[in-house]
Amino acid sequence: MTRPRLISLLGSYGVVLALLLLILFGWARYDYFVGLFNITSVLRYNSMFALVALGMCFVIMTGGIDLSVGSTAALGSVVAALASPQGAWIGLGAGVGAGLCVGLINAILVTRLKIMPFVATLAMMLAASGTALLLADNQSVSVSYESGFTSIGQDNFIGFPIPAWIAIMTYVVGWVVLNFTSTGRGVLAVGGNEDATRLMGLPADRIKFLVYLASGGLAGLAGVILASQFGAGQPIEGVGWELFAIAAVVVGGTLLTGGVGSVGATLAGVLLLGILFNVLNFENGKGWISLSAYWQSVIRGLFLLVVVILQAKLSSRGSVAVRDY
């Protein structure tokens, strides 16, 4: 392996490396960090972000952005909570359906009406948030405990939280779609050079349509898990989720301009940010210093910057990583 290739490999797996270092750090420093309870609760909580980040990853790979995911998740949670008395599956379907509706509107705005993704999804972020508040009458909507809806977010399957199973399955599907279907390769081609993609005869608009739709659906699914996990539809949750998702995607080495990206690295990015949050909580628990939520925010921001700068340095010396098959 030549030196530039090694560096480029480090660049693309830098996020995995950082993740491992962080886990080792937590393991060495805190007693209960690598304990079943902590692991399952971190996974349970972060699976929502993982779903949102997966959708975001696909949107960003086409060179777009989806700012509406946070409020879409909030809307999904409210709709799911409202529908949950009809049954767990109906609640699930309703929440995902609400997300797909938002995604559909985004897709139409971006591909048919040619509105810039930033503007279109910003508008939808406000609209979805408002709809969630209207439907919920400005308060949390309690879910039905009789229908078994709460199992989705709170139960385990083979000793593993169900939300984590859902996230893992969607990531596997996402990975296959990206790497082994023509639509997936089209996603990267559109982001890399949209004009060329059109001239090559690929359905650029259809590909973009699909990613916004998927992003909405995944945000809706995250909303279902939110409602189920906390026992209530949360119209005011989801604030800043889009930024968390973008951060996770970027930390995973996906270019904001599109054309380069990885599903696996995005998952690593989500875990990195989630576990960093977890580590900071443990640090507070030790009682040496007390970090307020504000300080935690500052530290997370700085950490994010360090990882991104490192990655930029590494990959500019090597080359952009492309998966080899």
């Binding site: 279907t181 990267l188 081609a189 050079n193 001239l199 090559m200 690929l202 080359s319 952009v320 098959y325």
Partner: protein, 546 residues
């Protein structure tokens, strides 16, 4: 001396060209001719208008099976429009197209591709971040059990490239490879679509000699396999190497089609420019006879400038109060030379002396500080800011000077703007009108005003009258003359032969990146300049620079 060096270089180039063209002349000859009767493509009487302005009027174009057909013409002659009509990018207004024996109606490049017409665009239209395999196979991937079969796609891509003797790791991203390989990937992609006709739009513009030789071998190979090629290029020598026939376009018409071995370069150039070799009488431009006594000392002299294959060896000089003209075909390196002078690009070799001192600008602001101005060829994208007002556009370059302490002196600004609106005769409702709303000629005057406000000593004008109507053209030309009479040194690039010949006090002819000839006003006849543009040497050769 310079001339001798230049012609030696050209001689070598020609020799090189001939030596690789030699192998199979009789073959090429036979195929070329046998095919003329059986056309793969024929376009007849094509009309295309944009907003009522004709881009094509009655253009006709035919390509035989297995023929390599050159399509040439000046900028704006209609080559790209013709190609885009063929590939379904534009819809024609009138005329008929027959391809492969059937009437041909397509409404998109995709459909054209599916019917067997592939286009390789000048700027390589691929996805740089993705692997070679993906770039070749995108849109027609191999599948197994519904999922992509990477192994087979890699093999196919490798096999396609090997046909052209290109060995490359098809798994690596395209951006890691040189331009020639990228070009081959583009060609492989085009041919992989089982093309019957491949259109190459200036495929050699970014290749070096060796890479061009490889490309030409590919073209010959295509030809042998019965694939027809439409070859668009500005480098005349290349046409003689690979093409069987040539069609020349001018003003939206196809003015001439000839077998390559029946037309010489002068014939090509004069058909492109639409000038008979005999000189037309009378003045066609507003550059009336100039008073040459006002011409002063040499202000800028450049020796042996080079940057890449586009500018290889250019030497010239401009004197105060003089209009020096650059003549040459598209791609001869005129604009690129101007960019070197103005510090936009950095030369790889060569020296410049400006106003008696060594001049080596790092960036445009160095050139501006030294007293230069540059009106670019592409007024829309590099010159004006359409949504800013006349005043703001005019002040852009001057701003740093006027605002010494960071505060802009409104009064001084107004005075200057109003003076230039008056002096240049800019027709606008006032300094606050948006430049977008002005005519092309008046936009150009605003740009002139921008540089004149800097009180420059040398003004570089790249195609100063392009896209401007006849009346305004004469006004701009008269203005340039007046400015030179007042002592300004002007370096004027123009693709309109008469503008250079009548306007310039001295004409420098560039050909394929080399300054091949220099003419004084008396020597600069149309046939002399055209001959230098075509061959690199002239019947009447001027001496070295004074």
């Amino acid at each position: 001396m310079i001339l001798r060096l230049a012609s030696a270089l050209i001689g070598r180039w020609l020799f090189f060209g001939i030596s690789i063209a030699m192998p199979e002349p009789s073959d090429a000859f036979r195929i070329g001719f046998a095919m003329n009767t059986d056309n793969l493509l024929s376009m007849t009487a094509i009309d295309k208008r944009f907003a009522g302005i004709p881009a094509l009027s009655g253009a006709s174009f035919a390509v035989g099976r297995g023929e390599v057909h050159a399509l040439i013409g000046q900028n704006g002659a209609g080559k790209s429009t013709l190609i885009k009509v063929l590939t379904g990018y534009y819809k024609r207004d009138a005329g008929e197209v027959v391809f492969d024996g059937k009437p041909f109606e397509v409404s998109s490049p995709q459909q054209a591709q599916a019917s067997g017409i592939s286009t390789i665009y000048q700027e390589i239209n691929l996805v740089p971040y993705r692997s070679i395999t993906e770039n070749i196979c995108l849109g027609r991937e191999a599948r197994r059990c519904g999922l992509l079969d990477w192994k087979r796609m890699h093999q196919e891509a490798e096999a396609l490239l090997q046909r052209f003797n290109v060995r490359a790791d098809v798994r690596r991203p395209l951006m890691e490879f040189n331009t020639a390989t990228q070009q081959m990937v583009a060609i492989a992609r085009a041919i992989g679509f089982s093309a019957k006709l491949v259109i190459m739009d200036e495929p050699t513009s970014s290749l070096d000699e060796r890479e061009v030789a490889v490309l030409f071998n590919v073209i010959r190979q295509l030809k042998q396999e019965g694939v027809s090629v439409v070859f668009v290029s500005h480098k005349l020598d290349e046409l003689y190497e690979v093409c069987d026939r040539v069609t020349i376009m001018r003003d939206g018409r196809t003015v001439k089609t000839a077998a390559m071995n029946e037309i010489d370069k002068i014939g090509l150039v004069s058909a492109m420019l639409g000038r008979a070799i005999e000189r037309a009488e009378g003045h066609a431009t507003a550059f009336s006879d100039r008073d040459e006594k006002k011409i002063g000392k040499v202000l800028l002299s450049a020796e042996n400038l080079a940057i890449n294959q586009i500018v290889q060896d250019v030497s010239f000089n401009v004197r105060s109060g003089e209009i020096a003209g650059f003549a040459g075909l598209l791609g001869a390196g005129r604009t690129e030379t101007a960019r070197l002078v103005f510090g936009i690009d950095r030369p790889r070799a060569g020296t410049m002396i400006f106003n008696g001192q060594t001049f080596d600008p790092n960036k445009p602001s160095d050139a501006i500080a030294a007293g230069m101005g540059f009106c670019t060829e592409d007024r829309k994208s590099e010159g004006i800011v359409p949504d800013m007002s006349v005043a703001e556009n005019m002040m852009l370059a001057l701003m740093p000077k006027l605002s010494k302490s960071g505060v802009i002196d409104e009064k001084a600004q107004r005075d200057i703007v109003e003076r230039f609106i008056r002096q240049l005769g800019i027709k606008c409702s006032g300094p606050d009108q948006k430049v977008r709303e002005l005519s092309g000629g008046n936009q150009q005057k605003v740009l002139l005003g921008r540089w004149l406000a800097m009180n420059p000593r040398l003004l570089i004008l790249d195609e100063p009258t392009r896209g401007i109507d006849v009346g305004a053209k004469a006004e701009i030309q008269a203005l340039i003359k007046t400015l030179a009479d007042q002592g300004l040194a002007v370096l004027m690039i123009s693709s309109e032969l008469e503008e250079v010949i009548e306007g310039a006090d001295r004409v420098f002819v560039l050909r394929e990146g080399i300054s091949v000839a220099e003419f004084d006003r008396d020597e600069a006849t149309e046939d002399a300049v055209m001959s230098a543009m075509a061959h690199g040497s002239a019947p009447t050769v001027a001496g070295a620079a004074p």
